[in-house]
């Protein structure tokens, strides 16, 4: 049942943000690095939706780019269906590439405005040499209908469509190489809520029909709750907690997750008094030592300021927090 499709092990990414060499020499500065992702582990099983959630600067999109191979990791490895991806080149990588696709946040930027919709959707088919001739046109028409558009739309240009329809086109393109795994980077955050509902429903239907596996990246907790089987919470490039979908919302363990859940505006009008959230995400160039959440944490202890917290198991998954470790030891 739980057959791992994608395994991410010790994944890390540093960006060199040093000033140019001459400036460094003249101003006697050292090289500067920004650690966008550090030591992230997770496994996505076939057929499930794994969500990564976090605020800006938490490293969500960097992980997405590394998973699809748009960005090489500086450490760790990514294993897709038993094959190590990082560093793989040539034919075997090409064969692997066909099996995963990506949907981006902004459907106004991700579709080439000079191409007809049909060409956009057919591109992966041509790239991977899957079909030829009129079979391509038929397949494009089929895909357009799968995502709720009509086959005639292939002749149109992207500007003739609304945001939601463009995102449908992006989904059709992602499906055209018959992938098993799709990375969705904030697929609905540029859309209005009623259109968001259409796209989320479509994505779930497609998952049921085609047995897709999703890595779903979002900052919106309620969307994540609706979509995901399992959820990983990121803070400043580290995975602070992972839990089974809805369980995370019933019993969050990490203080950051709790704070995040508390901060979501409440439609249920429960009139709950939320705990005031303190501070903002620190600068990732110079993150706080020890647990990077400690300056904002209500449970902060001495050891949080010095040591990186170990990952321990919780009832619903795992979390990295000194307070939890302490509670587990007692």
């Amino acid at each position: 049942m739980a057959e791992p499709l994608l395994q991410v092990q010790g994944l890390g990414r540093r960006f060199d943000i040093s000033r140019p060499w001459l400036n460094r020499v003249l101003e006697r500065q050292d090289r500067q690095f920004l650690t966008a992702v550090a030591d992230v582990d997770f496994t996505i099983n076939r057929g499930e939706t794994y969500a990564l959630v976090g605020e800006s600067g938490s490293g969500k999109s960097t992980i997405a780019k590394m998973v699809v191979g748009l960005l090489p990791p500086t450490s760790g490895r990514i294993v897709f269906d038993g094959q190590v991806m990082a560093g793989t080149e040539g034919a075997s990588m090409r064969a692997l590439r066909r099996r995963f696709q990506m949907i981006f946040q902004d459907p106004f930027a991700s579709l080439n405005p000079r191409w007809r919709v049909g060409e956009i959707i057919a591109e992966p088919i041509h790239r991977f040499g899957l079909l030829r001739g009129s079979a391509v046109t038929n397949r494009v028409g089929e895909l357009l209908e799968t995502v709720g558009l009509s086959a005639q739309d292939a002749e149109k240009y992207p500007h003739e469509f609304s945001g939601g329809q463009r995102q449908r086109i992006a989904i059709a393109r992602a499906l055209s190489s018959k992938p098993e795994f799709i990375v969705c980077d904030e697929p609905t955050s540029a859309l209005d809520v009623s259109v968001q509902a259409q796209i989320l429903n479509l994505m779930r239907d497609l998952q049921d029909e085609l047995g897709l596996t999703y890595l779903f990246i979002s900052h919106d907790l309620s969307v994540v709750r609706h979509m995901a089987n399992r959820i990983g919470v990121l803070y400043l490039g580290r995975l602070v907690e992972e839990a089974e979908g809805k369980a995370l919302f019933r019993a969050a363990h990490h203080p950051y997750t709790r704070m995040l859940l508390d901060a979501v505006p409440d439609l249920a009008l429960s009139g709950r008094r939320r705990q005031p959230v303190e501070g903002e995400i620190p600068n990732p160039i110079d993150p706080p030592p020890g647990c990077s959440f400690h300056p904002r944490c209500p449970l902060v202890m001495d050891r949080c300021r010095t040591g990186t917290p170990p990952v321990i198991a919780t009832q619903t998954g795992r979390a990295a927090c000194h307070a939890l470790t302490l509670a587990a030891d007692v």
């Binding site: 329809q165 907790l221 409440d266």
Partner: protein
């Protein structure tokens, strides 16, 4: 009900274009009572921001007010000269926009921008203005305000900048604050802080707020009443709790159902078919009729007026024609 602070009646905003005149706001009417927080929701293109811009006289040409009236404490402000309007802006109506950087001049220190604004609207000395500015920054939660006041906007983080903008909007003690998507550019944890701040500080000073947002959750937590806009028209207006728990307009109902929540167990989100019409092709009759599940013949030909169905509650939908008659009879 006491005399409204702001009263908008049959407001029409038009954009003359080469292909004809587009009507972006069509007969919008609502009141804001002194000290009240009125939320305004709608999807992109519904005319939310335009309403705010029309009230403060900052419509981008060629957009213009083509009909209706806007009154601030029963004085007409839509017909004022640009000079007279400028005196009202800032002094009697404060503004908070989505992107704090558009409201702040990057070349001036925060101190200069605040003291200048204070002195424009009140006859005080430089030293007194500075003292007030520091007190205000302190009130909006900027740590070490006396020192940070001499910083430039880029020295502040996103959330802190929005606090500065709130201080700037409030420094002339306005009667009305128009907040246009004040938290959309911010992370959830910071969003909660800013919402609480706007709510508290306006209550403290007795200022009314027009809170424009696409986020129903923000409205639920902040507003006293909510106005739902669709295609430049008012769909529904009423007390927040009533509109959320018992929406009367089919559009509002669809909108509420399409939002994933943190508590409900739903497998599928409610889907409103189609998308909001473009301004060039607003359907005859009710603008929502092609997407409405409960559409009747009448909806396709006659435009529903805002029918009063209860205390402070209006719905522009033919389904409620009977309720309205009953309410009128008492």
């Amino acid at each position: 009900m006491s005399a409204p602070l702001l009263s908008v009646r049959d407001l029409i905003v038009e954009f003359p274009t080469r292909r004809g005149t587009l009507r972006a706001l069509d007969g919008l009417s609502f009141d804001i009572a002194p000290g009240e927080v009125l939320g305004m929701v709608g999807e992109s293109g519904a005319g939310k921001s335009l309403t705010g811009a029309a009230i403060i006289g900052l419509l981008e040409p060629p957009g213009r007010i083509a009909g209706g009236e806007i009154r601030l404490r029963s004085e007409r402000i839509d017909t004022l000269s640009p000079d007279a309007m400028r005196r009202i802006r800032g002094k009697r109506i404060g503004m908070v926009f989505q992107d704090p950087l558009t409201s702040l001049n990057p070349l001036y220190t925060v101190a200069r921008q605040l003291t200048e604004t204070i002195r424009t609207h009140a006859p005080v000395s430089e030293a007194e203005a500075r003292k007030r500015a520091v007190a205000l920054l302190d009130r909006v939660g900027i740590p070490a305000a006396a020192r940070r006041i001499d910083d430039y906007p880029h020295h502040f983080s996103g959330g802190m900048r929005q606090r500065v903008v709130i201080a700037l909007a409030l420094c002339a003690e306005p009667e009305l604050v128009i907040a246009d998507e004040p938290t959309t550019a911010l992370d959830v944890s910071v969003q909660a802080q800013i919402i609480d701040l706007i709510k508290e500080i306006c209550a403290e000073r007795g200022a009314s707020v027009l809170l424009i947002t696409h986020d129903m959750g923000v409205i639920a937590e902040t507003a006293d009443r909510v106005a739902v806009l669709y295609a430049g028209r008012l769909a529904e207006i009423g007390p927040v709790r009533e509109v959320i728990t018992n929406a009367a307009h089919p559009y509002t109902r669809g909108l509420m159902g399409s939002i994933p929540t943190l508590t409900q167990e739903t497998d599928r989100l409610v889907q409103i078919p189609g998308a909001m019409p473009r301004l060039t092709a607003i359907p005859q009759g009710c603008a929502f009729n092609p997407r409405c599940r409960e559409v009747m013949d009448r909806c396709r030909t006659d435009r529903p007026e805002a029918l009063t169905t209860g205390e402070g509650r209006q719905v522009a939908c033919w389904l409620h024609a009977d309720d309205a008659q009953e309410a009128a009879r008492g």
